[in-house]
């Protein structure tokens, strides 16, 4: 059902990006998620971010695990190759694909069940390898697809639709990513497109593993009173720490923030992430402080959003592996096989 082609309507006057493509060119199949599902808003933000960055769809690969959230790669960028893998294992597939084709931009979509329970190990290792991937966790505190069981991100004290209370501790993927030595950890809310779109763009341009935890209410199983991942609760408890703006290479945007409140992070391609600190003493380059900050706000039942930690200098997966710049699939066979003479030579040592 996640394959319903969406008619691509184009009309005169529709805005085009620098590739001459319209927003519709970045859409995918028609969503089959519940009306109002937070995941669909994230899909819309992704479409917008890719369109604004004017990335060619065929430059992108989109991967996911299993869950309602993991269905969403079918709903954007129909011109990109997509990979709906098995539950919790998106990171490993993305790792293999990146090993083969480092020139492609990988976006991985996962859920809180997918990444924080069954796939917690793979999530952790993608982060610590600093794999070149934008890693979005569409976090609703429940297993949507299997009908509303608590996930590992459910807050202690939050209630399921049928009233049961979760008493286990919650895993915060942002804190985990920072602790694991991640190079980019952010949080946003599916209903906050103004914050989410620039974060996605920044994440896409970040050379290593960019984790964005997006609180994404499940209207069917987790949008009631007593849930801490509902629209109402999240809106009330949002606390934006650092807003990020993505500045493409060579286009200087006007500085409209007060001096001292902005930090520019320059990316490998010359583009920049401009950080506006809503909390003046917030320092997104300091791991310990970032964790402190997260913890202080968690204690006050606040959902901190924004780009919470970034380290551009951390070596990425391919830096560490020493992989050739040219994608491995592009080497001619002659450049890979040592040939008969080398084999004969080598075997002289086996006698």
């Amino acid at each position: 059902m996640s394959y319903i082609a969406k008619p691509k309507v184009s009309w005169a006057g529709q805005e085009r990006n620098s590739l001459g493509l319209t927003l519709a060119d970045y859409e995918g199949g028609l969503s089959t998620l519940c009306a109002g599902c937070g995941h669909d808003s994230i899909t819309a933000a992704l479409v917008k971010a890719f369109w604004e960055l004017a990335l060619k769809p065929e430059q992108v690969i989109k991967l996911s695990g299993i869950g309602c959230s993991s269905k969403t790669p079918a709903y954007f960028l129909s011109g990109s190759h997509g990979f709906n893998s098995v539950h919790g294992r998106m990171p490993s597939v993305a790792t293999g694909a990146q090993a083969a084709r480092r020139d492609l931009i990988a976006v991985g979509i996962s859920g809180d069940g997918d990444s924080l329970s069954i796939g917690f190990g793979q999530f952790a290792h993608a982060v610590r390898r600093n794999l070149n991937v934008l890693y979005i966790i569409e976090n609703n505190g429940v297993y949507g697809l299997t009908k509303g069981q608590f996930s590992a991100s459910a807050d202690p004290g939050s209630r399921a639709k049928k009233g049961a209370e979760n008493r286990n501790q919650a895993i915060d993927p942002v804190a985990v990513a920072i602790t694991l030595g991640g190079s980019f950890a952010a949080r946003s809310f599916s209903g906050d497109k103004t914050q989410l779109v620039p974060l996605i763009k920044a994440g896409l341009m970040h050379p290593g593993c960019a984790v964005i935890d997006v609180v994404s209410p499940c209207v069917t199983f987790n949008d009631h009173e007593g849930s801490t991942k509902s629209y109402a609760w999240t809106r009330q408890h949002l606390h934006a720490a650092v807003e990020a703006d993505y500045v493409p290479p060579s286009t200087e945007i006007e500085v409209d923030y007060a001096e001292g409140e902005n930090t520019d992070v320059r990316l490998h391609d010359g583009s920049k992430i401009r950080l506006k600190k809503v909390d003046p003493d917030y320092d997104p380059s300091n791991r310990a402080r970032a964790l402190d900050f997260l913890e202080a706000h968690r204690a006050r039942a606040e959902v901190v959003t924004g780009l919470l930690y970034i380290d551009e200098e951390l070596p990425t997966f391919h830096d560490i592996a020493g992989t050739a710049k040219q994608p491995l699939t592009r080497f001619e066979f002659e450049d890979l096989s040592p040939g008969a003479d080398a084999l004969a030579e080598f075997q002289k040592g086996l006698r």
Partner: protein, 604 residues
């Protein structure tokens, strides 16, 4: 008592303690015999331990070129006091036991028909060398010297080998050779040299090499053009990736930039290793993972996924003893069923069955071609015996004209000429659809999904659409039957209605057993399986014989079951010969089993 000489036909077994560095001494002995032109095989029987437990190394010299274990031990080098009793008991009548008599055990080490030779190895070494590590190592080299005297192993060759080994540290040659000489001279002075089991120069190793299967398989991956390898360490597969890494460092570095034309990933577990291989295969790289049974268990979900989504991937299963952790350093052929049908649902996978390191090399190459041609996971089922032991095989050959078969992959030009692209349509009637690779033109984009899909690549829950795809996969399986390496038949000299089926590391023992049976007048035709699915030749062989022995190294007769399940073979005619104690199958056991069966049949 005088014994008939056993020239170039003996088993030499070395009993030591794990972690005492005996491997280099044993390798030295192997190679010295090999360079004397004598066919040799070495089998390492080591514990799952880093230091302290008993370990054995068995060298068989066979002028006839047999490489299997036999039930014999002609000369035992007993270097481990803990196992003296069992080591002595294992020596064959007329055999010898050499031990370190620095601590004499004249009372304990006594057996009729076995000559016990005490050499004060520790004392001699301690008098001549300093440092405990050096002394331990030199003790090993000293027994090599003693054997040079006792068995007439060429000392000049040993010296040359030492010079080659220490080419980078020539200072080590003299002390090592001194240790050789200590052992040599002591033996010459105190015993009647040579003993009955001894070596004599011959010319049966020209064009041969000594290599372990894992290194050969790694070479196969290198030559096949594999660029991505993902793995999680597990005995006995680890040396495959170690070897691949070594070869890549040597042959796959960009000469100018030093960049890697490969990417090896040590995964967090086998699930991830499988996912990485599948991801890389999807993206168009030749990718593989080496593992063993426990790893395949963990990888199963991804294996079924790759089967259903039709993604090439190569899995090396270097089998070890199961179930569960089992005996990690012992050998078996126990993952046959696991590999053949890995994963839930109706899944089946081509499985290649190399019989020795040479075939590990060749079949690794074939596996990548098959995986891409068939767009499916392919297994290479080796085992610890092949993978980690040194085998003498014909020199590996490579044809520079060879090019990989990438199968049905559409290029952007192909796509430009097409109205529309559909991932799973069968245009050629062989059950194999056309694939596109990520990064190709937008027109070729599709969505890989392990959920129900139709021939267009779309999600489906429609009964007919679902079934059409799985039926086509069945058709693809029929295509695979004609593409995998076919079984090899070795006919008996005379006509016979008795057949034997074996595969993998049982081959050497089988050939030797059948030769011996032939000498006794028992004629048996032999079919060596080289792959699953079975080709027509397997069916024909079953039809042509009244009784077919099925020799395999597992308890539950997995190959026999496969033959029954896949070919409807008559259970009455399939007689199992099973060997599953973790040691490589010995040829004697096969001779006995077949002999007994035929005798009983004659009585009945």
């Amino acid at each position: 008592m005088p014994q008939p000489a056993k020239i170039n036909d003996f088993v030499l077994k070395i009993a030591t303690v794990n972690g005492t560095g005996s491997a280099s001494a044993n390798g030295l002995l192997m190679k010295a015999l090999f360079r004397m032109g004598i066919p040799v095989t070495g089998k390492n029987m080591f514990p799952s331990n880093i230091q302290g437990l008993p370990t054995w190394y068995e060298i068989r010299a066979s002028r006839d070129g047999y490489n299997a274990r036999t039930g014999r031990v002609d000369v035992m080098i007993a270097m481990n006091a803990q196992t003296y009793a069992r080591d002595l008991a294992e020596v064959s009548h007329g055999g010898y036991l050499v031990y370190d008599s620095t601590w004499p055990r004249d009372g304990q080490l006594k057996r009729d028909n076995v000559t016990v030779l005490g050499i004060p190895l520790a004392r001699m070494v301690n008098e001549n060398f300093e440092g405990s590590r050096v002394r331990t190592l030199m003790k090993n080299i000293a027994y090599v010297g003693a054997l040079c005297a006792l068995m007439e192993i060429d000392r000049d060759i040993v010296r040359t080998l030492l010079e080659e080994t220490f080419a980078a540290k020539p200072k080590l040659v003299e002390p090592n050779f001194k240790a050789v000489t200590l052992g040599y001279e002591y033996a010459r002075e105190h015993f009647d040299c040579p003993i009955s089991a001894r070596a004599e120069k011959m010319d049966a190793t020209a064009g041969k090499i000594l290599i372990e299967g894992n290194a050969a398989a790694a070479l196969g991956c290198l030559y096949a053009g594999a660029t991505v390898g993902a793995w999680y360490p597990i005995t006995p597969s680890t040396s495959l990736m170690d070897a691949f890494q070594g070869f890549c460092e040597k042959y796959r570095k960009d000469p100018d930039t030093g960049e890697n034309r490969f990417c090896i990933i040590q995964a967090e577990d086998e699930l991830a290793a499988a996912g990485m291989v599948v991801g890389a295969g999807w993206a168009g790289a030749r990718a593989f993972t080496p593992t063993s049974g426990p790893g395949i268990s963990l990888m199963s979900e991804f294996i079924g996924f790759a089967y259903y989504t039709e993604i090439p991937a190569v899995f090396f299963d270097i089998q070890r003893v199961g179930p569960s952790t089992g005996m990690p350093t012992r050998t078996q052929q126990c993952d046959l069923m696991l590999a053949a049908y890995a994963s839930h649902g109706d899944t089946r996978h081509p499985v290649l069955l190399p019989a020795d390191p040479k075939e590990c090399f060749e079949m690794a190459v074939v596996a990548f071609d098959l995986a891409e041609r068939l767009q499916t996971p392919v297994f290479v089922l080796s085992d610890l015996d092949i993978g980690m032991n040194d085998w003498m095989v014909d020199e590996l050959q490579w044809d520079d004209a060879w090019r990989p078969d990438r199968g049905k992959v559409l290029t952007d030009e192909d796509l430009a000429g097409m109205q529309v692209y559909h991932r799973f349509r069968d245009f050629d009637g062989d059950g194999i659809p056309y694939r596109t690779l990520p990064g190709s033109d937008r027109k070729g984009s599709y969505f890989v999904r392990g959920s129900g899909h139709n021939q267009y690549g779309g999600y489906t829950e429609d009964a007919d659409e679902y079934q059409q795809v799985v039926d086509r996969l069945k058709l693809k399986w029929e295509t695979a039957r004609g593409l995998v390496p076919s079984a090899v038949e070795r006919k008996a000299a005379g006509r016979t209605d008795i057949g034997l089926i074996a595969f993998g590391s049982s081959h050497g023992a089988t050939v030797e057993a059948l030769d011996r049976l032939a000498e006794q007048g028992v004629a048996v035709d032999y079919l060596r399986l080289r792959a699953f699915p079975f080709g027509e030749e397997v069916e024909a062989f079953l039809d042509a014989h009244r009784t077919v022995f099925v020799l395999e190294q597992n308890r539950d007769a997995q190959m026999r079951s496969l033959l029954m399940a896949e070919l409807d073979a008559d259970p009455q005619k399939l007689v199992s010969i099973l060997h599953y104690n973790g040691l490589p199958v010995p040829s004697d056991m096969i001779v006995e089993r077949i002999g007994d069966y035929i005798e009983q049949e004659a009585v009945a």
